[in-house]
Symmetry: none
């Protein structure tokens, strides 16, 4: 499920350290922001020496990249697996939204990093695998097109636009949650968002 480590043996000693550094990085970056986070903060929280970080990551950028990519890969894999058995396009989209909110709602630091640093990294870090973003959208677009083919969703609508609205709406919920001053279960907004988006794309029988 977890996408597995890339470095050393991963068994226990190593791999564990790789993960510790990654987790610490997410934690620290979530707290102070990427640019303000110091390698020594990350190393300190991970319980390793500064230099050790560089045994597992080429540089600071790569840590962020890896954190985000790893999370994304895991999410996309899980989303694919969970949507596959579903037949109803509507159900698929509801499940996707639920999954998105559940995943981030369960891991606040990761959510913070994704909401706050993702766009930056999309622009400046390597090709941040916009690929991964595309994959996410593809899952949604696929379901939307199926819905259109089945006459459930509006035909004149571009599936890309619909996917963007869906993603944007969900994303904004996460951002609000992350910035909120008091805590609340992120999943609470799953249904309201799903309702709006689905009603927004569903075909009207009568007007």
């Amino acid at each position: 499920m977890a996408p597995a480590a890339k470095q050393p043996t991963l068994s226990r000693g190593a791999g564990a350290k790789f993960q510790r550094i990654l987790d610490a990085a997410i934690e620290v970056i979530a707290q102070k922001g990427f640019h303000t986070a110091r390698i020594s903060d990350i190393a300190g929280l991970a319980g390793v020496a500064d230099g050790t970080v560089y045994l597992y990551f080429k540089n600071k950028d790569e840590i962020l990249m890896t954190a985000i990519n790893t999370a994304f890969d895991a999410f996309v894999a899980r989303a694919r697996a969970e949507l596959r058995p579903l037949t109803s396009p509507v159900e698929k989209l509801r499940r996707l939204i639920h999954l998105h909110l559940e995943t981030l709602g369960r891991n606040r630091p990761l959510a913070v990093v994704c909401q706050m640093e993702l766009r930056q990294s999309a622009r400046f870090l390597a090709p941040f695998s916009n690929q991964r973003m595309i994959e996410y959208f593809d899952i949604a677009r696929q379901a939307i097109r199926e819905g259109q083919e089945q006459g459930l969703f509006r035909e004149e609508m571009r599936d890309l636009d619909a996917a963007r609205c869906l993603f944007g709406a969900v994303d904004e919920m996460v951002t609000s949650w992350v910035l909120a001053e008091h805590e609340y279960p992120l999943l609470d907004v799953a249904e309201p968002v799903a309702d709006i988006i689905l009603l927004g794309i569903e075909r009207r029988l009568k007007r």
Copy 2:
């Protein structure tokens, strides 16, 4: 109400320089990101000495803050003014979406800065006037509540959730546009988004 001058005389000599620095900052930050943008870059593009920047802004953070706040204030003021004469909640929301996309679609660097740096600043810089964000949302929420009162929009829906979906969807359109490799008119997506969001919140007469 009108953008208003914050600095000195504003007339010509000063004020002009204030604005030049601000514009330069947006340009440079859009290009390299806030943390990578150097004061000397900004000063250079504005045609002033590095030190001069500090006659108009307390520090680097404040430049970003001011740029965003200024833009926001102008936008909110304009939105208020343009929505006031409208009576239909539906029209109000359509106009808001249109305005949002038009404003940013017309000023790419500003759009880039808003999409890429806004969240960061929301989290770390001063109180970034989340106030301003709240005002934006309030405009939308107001219209939504009116729509609910008039029986046009779904009643069981929380107006805040609806406003977030609306903002999130529009915001994602801007982000996509900013990150896109080829150019296209941002306004092209105004209608598709508006359709989805409005249909999503409108009350169904029949099902």
Copy 3:
């Protein structure tokens, strides 16, 4: 005589600082070697902040390069000027040797840097203007060829080889002096070296 500064106004304030840093660098590098010399050592000795060094030099390498090149340029210019009026090839070579030893004998730190770091920089730093080395050799070769044309120096001898012997011999004198444990006037060896080299290249009338 001094080749003049490259940076700022050179008048007093600036230019003076450029030179102070350069002098400090030579001093420190002579003492600890280039790689062991820290920028902060140099800055400290020059009485400026670390960062100031970078206002005058792009990086550490450039400091060494500049120091060596400046010294070389000055030397070559002076050598050219002093040899010009001389007509006798023999006198020219004697003067060259004298000049070489006098120049370095007068400035021990510079001599140390040249003897200890020159070869390294010739190999790794930029093109260290091997150009400059070539110019030095050209002065000697020119005189040697003149001597050959006048029947004073052996004809079958390659002027380049002769120049190298001359330079090598003089250079070794400087190295010995630099490494010596007790001090002595470097110029003392001018005549002995000149004798050996000149007798070595002069044509024998009788055998």
Copy 4:
């Protein structure tokens, strides 16, 4: 006298490894310079783990020292052996020059290291056995004094100066060869140098 083993058994397993590390070090240092050469480069080329290097050498400095000293010892031993049977001081010096050039001309990396790093190490590394340098010079000085006693070489000349000229000239030939862009047999310059130096120190019968 013979190079001799310094480390363990030398036979096969060990000793072989000691030598592999030494050779690798010379290779790497010749290529990148001492300070830029990393222990891991050397270990890698030698086919051993980084830590293993420290089983054979106390630290990085010692590797360079050992490499140079070993080469020097071997050279001095060989020079002594080859000059012993010769009776003519002139022949002895010619042979010394030939040996010097042949030894380095046959082993380019070693030559590079000697030319480029020797002076540094002479100054900073331990007592780098200036002892060894002295031994080299002593061989030359001995022959020179013999020549003077036999009335072959100029009497007023200090044997140390003559030896330095000889060494300096030969050394410069090696340096030129090492820095040259195109290859050529180093031994080609043996005779020209020998001619110049010998004629330079020989006594003139007639003038």
